[in-house]
């Protein structure tokens, strides 16, 4: 074997976690994925199923980002930058749901106002 790329005392050495930690996270991810598949077999309405699956998916993503992608080992400033910036962008995308519901229930613009003259 050549000399290690990372000196044991260097800051990057923290990325060389024990393999056991990776296996534990891997098993946790498999279990969470299994829970998602289990939820799909339940007799739930779409909204309830979506909420449960989203919760599990966020937990899975959190584990993957923090430990597989080593974000937890980075500087706290970088962690906050990634989480806050990405989170804000993803939340900002949710503005259209009210319009989606309008498509579903047909209100208010797709319904003719009482007394309105049809063109």
């Amino acid at each position: 074997m050549d000399a290690p790329d990372v000196h044991p005392n260097s800051p990057e050495a923290k990325y060389t976690d024990s393999a056991g930690k990776y296996y534990v996270i891997y098993v946790c991810l498999l279990i969470l994925a299994g829970i998602q598949f289990y939820i799909a077999t339940l007799n739930l309405d779409t909204t309830a199923m979506f909420a449960r699956m989203l919760f599990v998916a966020v937990a899975e993503a959190g584990l993957a980002i923090m430990f597989f992608m080593h974000l937890w080992a980075e500087k706290r400033g970088f962690l906050l930058f990634v989480v806050i910036f990405t989170g804000f962008v993803l939340l900002a995308m949710q503005y259209g749901w009210t319009d989606s519901n309008r498509m579903d229930v047909g209100a208010p613009y797709s319904q003719t106002k009482p007394g309105a003259v049809q063109q």
């Binding site: 599990v56 930058f81 962008v89 995308m93 519901n101 498509m103």
Partner: protein
Amino acid sequence: MSQADMTMAAHSHHPPGMTVGLEPFVVPAKKMAMWLFIIADAATFAGCLVAYGFLRNGTPDWPRPFHSMTNAVLMTFILLTSSLTMLLGVRAAKAADRAGAFRWTMITMVLGIIFAALHIREWLALIDEGMTLSHNPWGSGLFGSAFFSITGLHLLHVTGGVIALLIIGLSWKAGHRTAEDLETAGLYWHFVDLVWMFVVPFVYLLNMAH
């Protein structure tokens, strides 16, 4: 030039006299570039998934064409396992285990190829049942465009990742890459896995026939 600047210049690869700023996040340039790409790509996938949700929520006759989750289970297992093998490859690279890092990287690549093959097989089965971008036998024609665009974008990322792993793996074996290069490729691969964690429940499992 301050003492701090001179110290930084002495330890960097920048030419003398070039002004370099502080590195507040202490993240290597390649890794930082990959993180910025991942953030942008996360927004791309989120945009696709939100648009899909928008249409699904607003379409009463949304199809539920999937009768079995076997393929999705298998694809998920393979992709999660490929993330583990990628981690083991990066770990071996950090420990200067050149052969081990190459072996794990190639295993990851093969798992990616198997995933892509399963994905394409599923596509062909759906096309065979009459699903196109604008039409399907089960309900709203919007399903085809949403399904093919989201899973197609993901498949494109997997294909790109497989090619990248092949190139980086071979050049790593030839001694032209560092452990940091493998780690950066690994970041991308984990992100592809991460996206799948959202595609499976929303595109597959919510559309299971009951």
